[in-house]
């Protein structure tokens, strides 16, 4: 079954016809030519396809496109607006990636995570669950980023790259 939907991707409106089975990830990669979000597992187990969906980080591989009619989507390509996003600059400076395949997902996830922490959301690493202000130490960042796997294992560089932006 095909349905017509509208999506706003990295600031640009798109009208497209999708099979009900098509995920946001495949709609972006196969139909809209935006291959910034990556397919690493297609089962919500790696985080490579992380998108900002109406401002929140989610996994594009588990989101049927038809269920997100009219959604506003931001990918790592869209985070760079004229110049690289501070997270992107920091990732380069800290060499927070090797093969680069999980990297757009890590960066979008980090952007969403920083907003969550800014809103006072706790994590499993919280020492005080009731605290309204989140102090993003390395343990907090690592816990909050654990949904983004990196097989090259750049973790020891990714956390400082995010911390530098978080502490600005």
């Amino acid at each position: 079954m095909d349905l017509e939907i509208e999506l706003r991707v990295d600031g640009t409106e798109h009208r497209l016809t999708v099979d009900t089975r098509t995920t946001l990830l495949d709609a972006l990669r196969e139909q809209l030519g935006n291959t910034s979000p990556k397919k690493g597992c297609d089962h919500g187990q790696c985080g490579a396809c992380t998108l900002l969906l109406d401002g929140r980080r989610v996994l594009g591989c588990l989101a049927p496109a038809v269920a997100h009619q009219g959604a506003d989507i931001v990918t790592a390509a869209g985070l760079a607006d004229g110049e690289l996003h501070p997270l992107q600059q920091s990732f380069i400076a800290h060499d927070a990636f090797q093969c680069g395949y999980c990297t757009p997902g890590q960066i979008v996830s980090a952007a969403g995570m920083l907003q969550e922490a800014g809103a006072g959301w706790p994590s499993a690493a919280a020492k005080d669950l009731g605290a309204t202000d989140v102090v993003l130490d390395d343990e907090e960042i690592a816990e909050r980023m654990s949904g983004n796997l990196c097989r090259c294992a750049a973790y020891a560089n990714i956390v400082p790259a995010i911390a530098e932006v978080a502490h600005r």
């Binding site: 495949d26 196969e30 990556k38 089962h43 990636f97 097989r151 294992a153 750049a154 990714i158």
Partner: protein, 710 residues
Amino acid sequence: MSHVTARPHAIGLPMDRVDGAQKVTGTATYAYEWPLDQPVYLYPLQSTIASGRVTGVDSALAEAEPGVLAVLSHLNAPTLTRPDDPELAVLQSAEVAWRGQFIGAVVAESLETARRAAGLVRVDYESRPPDVVLRADRDDLCSPVHAAAFGTGGGELQDGSPADSLLGDVDTALAASPTMVDTTYSTPMYHNNPMEPHTAVVTWLNGELLVRCSTQGVSMSQALISGVLGLEPGRVRVVSPHVGGAFGSKVYPHAYAVLAAMAARIVRRPVKFTLTRQQMFALVGYRPASIQRIRLGAGRDGRLTALAHDVIEQTAKAKGYAEQVAVCSRMMYAAPHRRTTHRLAPLDIPVPTIMRAPGEAQGMYALESAMDEMAIACGLDPVEFRLRNEPEVHPESGLPFSSRHLTDCLREGARRAGWEHRDPAPRAHRAGRWLVGTGMAVSTYPSPRFPGNTATIRVGPDGRYTVRIAAADLGTGTWTALTQIAADALSVPVGQVEMRIGDTALPAASVAGFSAGINSWGTAIWEAADRLRARLRAEHGGIAPPEGLEVSAEMAGGNPEAERYAMHSFGAQFAEVRVDEDTGELRVTRLLGMFDVGRVINPKTARSQLIGGMTQGMSMALYEHSVLDPRFGHVVNHDFAQYHIASHADVHAIEAHWLDEPDPHTNPMGAKGLGEVGIVGTAAAIGNAVHHATGVRVRELPITLDKLVS
């Protein structure tokens, strides 16, 4: 005499990756991402039995599905030229040699349709009971038969080494030793699991094949794919500028590229094919499981008298891959009496392949665990025990080492890790509910140079240099490191150098594997740069002519010095672990590696490779384990929710340091390999630390909490 002719300027600087901006925005083009006109999609059919044959394929329902263009099976697949590699002989017979093997494919207009239609194909089998269990007491263990794919030894193992080695009289020496350790360690099947799934996107154009695939070496892929399809190599172009991780699993093109090429020839449209994560557990190799018996004898002076390392490992009946697990024991320590053996159990399982530090990763886990046990048995500090057993020359070949600064790594690593304050008593240190322990182990990996590299450098009238070689960047930093090497070889700033890699339209190159990339490609670039500079000087007064000048260097052979020197990277790793006394939960709170890797080309990307290797070593030690179901022959935990790799929260302090000691014989840069040495020894260091923390010696990886909870 020193052969190091490097003029370091760019070399040694922590340059940012030249492809960094593309990678952080997601715009670097991986194999599946090339824009194509009217592509079609392939979804494979996999056998659901582990042994037997296909007796019937009913594809009527699938073919009736709108959008389906073709259903392939052995019944209608084109005949391939018989390849040397049986793994590549896809759809050539009805035989099934492992569960999950390709038995067909559906090609359709959309990804969703192809996958759905594949589920509609009905396959009948004649099935034999699968034989998939590795045991030391099997009566069919056999010696490996010429599995060599690399190296010049022509021996029985994959790296070209002979299967067995023997010096002196091990049994007599062991019997006479005042202290003896006789232990058996086992390592499970591990899967490489790069984040980017294996992919081939294939287009036929005027009888020529364009393959965009994710590969560690376009030239090798070109040779293998053209060979299987019966084409002149020049009619197959392989393109792979960015690779989303590989760790050995993308050295060979495996069967998926052949299947995609076959399909593209039939449907006459560009075919896109990427494996699912689950399919990767059956189709693109893995590190074979091993059972390793180690016997060590030591004298009262703490010096080894005998060392025996006997390995039994998994292999596939379909292809006799034989890994060099005990080869590390041939060169690591001095001992007058020594023996190594390798025996295989051929099973109805998928074909194994290279996985980061093949052989050393498992072999050094066993050897370095046994060394820890022996140090304790001798009442010696484990660092001191290793210092006492450092060989003067390669203990088997008698060749001197091109450089071996292991003792410096041991001493400096121990100093940085605060090792001198260590109380050797197990279970002596705790922090709250955590038992705390430290352990160490040694790392090593060969530093070979591969033949078959040509580099071409062109200087334009504007004084800009274009360097062309079909090298690969798997995340290793090749784009950047080769730029630095070329700049120094040409004595120009890096801004004047443009690299071109990852395409068979470029001069041929060896694979990115065996930690040989920089050594092999860098040497060719260095030679081409020297020739270019010489010609510029001799013919053009040192100024680039208006028409430009292009020079190539073909390095047909490997390193001639390899006949006179043993070439290896080294390291010492120190681990601190915490084990929850109640639950057995284990955290590696600190890992420190001190390495001898020659001159480091780019400290930034080098550090990333070393800590990446160490983190993978931790993952190997604690989490990873492919569970083969003995009844069905498949990997049960075939996804990222069940096959755990280390994630962010598992990583605490990880440090990698290195000595600044260029190797005088490996290559003009003085560099040694560092892609694999980081993963070697980590698992042993952690296991030794777990013993120190808990008093429990786990000899079977991974060290999961069930082995520690009581």
